[in-house]
Amino acid sequence: MARLSNLCDFVPSDRDLPSMADNNILYKIKKAGLIGRGGACFPVWKKWTAVKNAIDERPENDRKSCVICNASEGEPDVKKDFYILKNHPEKVIAGMLLALAYLGAKRGYLYINANYYRILRAKLEKAADGTPVEILVKPSGAGYIGGEETSILNAIEGKRIEPRLKPPFPFKAGLFGLPTLLNNVETFYNVALVEEGSYRPDRFVTIIEQSPKPTFKAFARLRKITKREVFLFPEDWTMEKILKKSGRLPSYKFFVQLGGGASGMVLNSSQLKNPLAGSGSITIYNLENHDPMELIRQWIGFFYGESCGKCVPCREGTFRVKEQLEKNDVNWPLVKELLNNLAETSFCGLGCSAPIAITSYFKNVFPLISDKNNVLASSQSKTVCECFS
């Protein structure tokens, strides 16, 4: 838990600040303390500087570079990029233009989720009209991995959509080998606000309430979302405060998943004293009225279906976990071992994050279910608790 809260606590020290002589927008970004909103919380100025330096290292007559806005938003439940694109498309484009100008890049790409494009096409095309920003629709079948930054490069280059080995990092050799700046929709939106002078350290948070009432055995589809809404809150608010202020703090016993319905960490209701890290979403589940097996099968099923197939622990591991969880007599130690192996040895972030939901669920939530010995046979329930404690 300590790690989680530390993820986004980067505060630039004065020593790190570029002088006023430096490019103005970079100075402003740094001063504002902008961090990337793609989930990794990387300081924006650092990324921009890295790209800039990589460009400067190139021969004087070949200082090309690219800017890509990642609007693929493949994580289930997180719809904040959609919200931003729907309501502030011109700001996102403006942020991209600032990046293009800063880097001296000729072209920017808005790489967008196909569903978003279908719905927002007119607005986005209007916002991008007359700018060097081109809208590229994420190829069908690109899936979750199609939003991973090096997979995006492969997708745009028409290659097989899967992650690349790093180094080289995209900032150095990204799209077609050129220094490439990749930022999230919310990041570019924030850059535009910084330039306007209207930026405040807020963040968008999607709050999703999973159907609160289904009983254990009698429901058709678990992930029936009853409510979903996007809020804008100060980024230092604790999760508890966010739930209270949004009026979404449940009256029933609940637990949450943060940063997306697939890879997000699962916490119980007493673990919400820290600010929200990672992608901006909180999914609320009913503690006493959910089917644990159904839920974890759904989680692993998602990663099994989205695995690109490149590396062994993810391709084979997600399949074998899924296989185990479909059995009546699950070999929990094996499941734990496979999940652990995913975190330890996967090629990319998709594989590494595949076990987060399940392991944190069993650690933080499952022991609190009063009815847990009815959900799983009591011997199984005991093994599970031991395995994941």
Binding site: G143, R160, L165, Y304, G305, E306, S307, C308, G309, K310, C311, V312, P313, R315, E316, G317, T318, F319, R320, E337, L338, N341, A343, E344, T345, S346, F347, C352
Partner: protein, 605 residues
């Protein structure tokens, strides 16, 4: 001053610790490589020195102090002060689990698997105590794709390492193999693009760690013949490059020359006669060099009139002349560049020449009905299997070469029959120009240096130049004073030079690996004579050679061949009396001469 600093910078060493041992290395090396150089074994399946690291098998993971996750040693560079463990519990657990997951992808077909005795999976299973059946087999329904009669990919054995795809696209630039599907549905499939076709080079097989990509095996049929020959005479013919590679299969050092033991092993296996394809290579050289000189004359290149250079590409002469003893290259030309087919020498390839001579001249002298001769070629090559079934090669209506075994298949046959090649007493090969009983102890012919270097890239060119010079100089020793054409040697992708033979300048190019062909095809008019070998390094790096084959191993094998050449009593093909005798005999046989010596090519695009 600047240069001093630069060289000091390049020499700068760093110190890392692996398993408690302090090691000096240079900062541009991967952990995997540093470990290997220091005899610390790290297992791995998807890496190969011919390719950049892919890091997808995740078997080479190591633990680095201060790192959250395990890292793949094949891709992680060493940095100063790094503290690494390759044996910690954490490493062991992850590595074993990944190997167990890989095992469940690979349906074991060990008893009939040609790399059974050198299988890395089995080696790791034993070394690391892998539970090979921990997970159920999941590829029982996978297809086998066959490419002509040469190569196949058995999906039920594939571990998705993708080395075959790298070999086909990155190394050979053929792009015939593709990755289809995602997740566990991923599968290696042949391209459906009609503009792309397999050239049967077998580099996919050579780079496959688990024999999923492999030659289409013929050892079963050969074994049957050996066990029950009936009234057939079984004749083995072994390629020049085999003698410097097959030793590896029996634990001998890279580049160890085992010509005599090879002959002994073949006899022990049950072959009635054993012939060295170097003899066939000498036939090829004489035929090819004569054709080259004829073409050059037709183009007025060697009449002393250098002003006639513009005529070089005349329709009659079809210059540049291009070698054709590599069947992978021939298939490439037939499919991708049929316009070049008139430029290919009409000379057959060495084992086809030899087999033709055996089934005509030698059969007649020995009083054996050619119908009762079964010829089996031991080749470094998978494409030779396809070459052997070409109808246009028929001699008196029958195939000259009846079976082709790769080096790997042959080594497997020996091991199956408990014949340890390294322990055998060397024997001589039989002389194709001499009739009679096989005699391991006398009647030996020393392999000609010219034929031995056929196994390395540039060797065919060099041999042909030696003989072409003699043909041009017509016995004038001062004119014909050169043996070595080192310009043609070496491991570079393309070798270009102007060489002078018999006082005439010849512009030559050697393409070392089909992946380097494109730039040469774009400027054909710049050359008079071109050698093309589809496999990197030539036959010593052929698709049928022992696994592993790496740049370093190719270099050592080639070096050994050039050493044979250097020390050979004869180094020019036309000085091989037996060859000249057979060629003279063929001249009196009307149409048969052309049937044994020449071939034609078929547009396949």
């Amino acid at each position: 001053m600047f240069f001093v600093e630069l060289s000091l910078g390049m020499l700068k060493k760093i110190t890392i610790t692996i398993n408690g041992k302090k090691i000096q290395c240079s900062p541009d090396e991967t952990i995997f490589k540093v470990a290997k150089n220091n005899d610390i074994e790290i297992p791995g399946l998807c890496g190969h020195p011919d390719f950049p690291p892919k890091a997808n098998c995740r078997v080479c993971v190591v633990e680095i102090k201060g790192y959250n996750k395990l890292v793949t040693s094949c891709s992680e560079k060493a940095t100063d002060g790094m503290v690494i463990s390759t044996i910690s519990e954490r490493v062991k657990k992850a590595r074993n689990l990944n190997l167990e997951l890989i095992f469940a992808e690979h349906i074991e077909k060990c008893p009939t698997c040609a790399i059974n005795f050198s299988c890395r999976l089995l080696y790791y299973a034993e070394k690391y105590k892998i539970e090979v059946r921990r997970f159920g087999e999941r590829k029982t329904e996978r297809k086998t794709y066959k490419f002509a009669n040469a190569v196949e990919i058995d999906g039920s054995q594939c571990i998705d390492c993708r080395n075959c795809v790298d070999a086909c696209s990155m190394l050979q630039k053929i792009n015939y193999l593709e990755i289809k599907g995602k997740g566990i549905n991923q599968e290696i499939t042949p391209s459906k693009d009609l503009e792309v076709d397999c050239i049967y080079c077998g580099q996919c097989a050579l780079h496959c760690p688990v024999n999923s990509a492999a030659e289409q095996s013929e050892w079963q049929e050969v074994e049957k013949l050996l066990q029950n020959p009936g009234d057939k005479k079984l004749v083995a013919m072994f390629a020049p490059s085999i003698r410097v590679s097959i030793g590896e299969e029996f634990g001998l050092p890279y580049g160890k020359v085992v010509t005599g033991q090879l002959a002994a092993a073949l006899r022990k296996l049950g072959f009635n006669y054993v012939f060295d394809v170097i003899f066939g290579a000498d036939i090829t050289t004489v035929v090819e060099a004569s054709e080259l000189v004829t073409k050059l004359k037709a183009a007025k290149q060697i009449t002393g009139d250098q002003s006639a250079i513009g005529n070089r590409q005349s329709a009659i002469s079809h210059l540049p002349m291009i070698t054709s003893c590599c069947p992978g290259w021939v298939k490439y030309a037939e499919f991708y560049h049929p316009e070049l087919l008139p430029n290919l020498t009409s000379a057959r390839s060495p084992h086809v020449h030899l087999a033709g001579a055996i089934k005509t001249y030698w059969a007649e002298k020995s009083g054996i009905d050619p119908k009762n001769i079964i010829t089996v070629s031991i080749m470094p090559c998978t494409a030779k299997k396809f070459e052997a079934i070409r109808k246009e090669l028929a001699v008196n209506g029958a195939r000259p070469v009846d079976h082709v075994l790769t080096t790997r298949e042959f080594a497997f046959l020996l091991k199956r029959n408990k014949i340890s090649l390294g322990k055998l007493k060397p024997e001589n090969s039989d002389n194709p120009a001499r009739a009679g009983k096989s005699d391991p102890n006398s009647g030996a012919i020393q392999p000609n240096g010219a034929g031995s270097i056929y196994g390395a890239s540039g060797g065919v060119m060099e041999s042909a130049l030696r003989t072409a010079a003699a043909l041009i100089c017509k016995g004038d020793k001062i004119c014909d004073n050169r043996i070595d054409f080192k310009e043609a040697r070496g491991m570079e992708g393309v070798k270009e030079a102007d060489v002078t033979i018999g006082g005439h300048k010849l512009r030559i190019a050697v393409v070392n690996g089909i992946g380097h062909i494109s730039p040469i095809i774009k400027k054909l008019a710049d050359y008079d004579y071109i050698e093309v070998m589809a496999c990197p390094g030539g036959c010593i790096g052929g698709g049928g050679q022992p696994i592993p084959t790496t740049p370093e191993i190719r270099r050592l094998r080639a070096e050994a061949l050039y050493k044979i050449d250097k020390n050979a009593p004869l180094r020019k093909a036309h000085e091989n009396k037996g060859v000249m005798e057979i060629l003279k005999w063929l001249k009196t046989k009307g149409k048969l001469e052309s049937q044994v010596l020449h071939t034609k090519y078929i547009k396949r695009g």
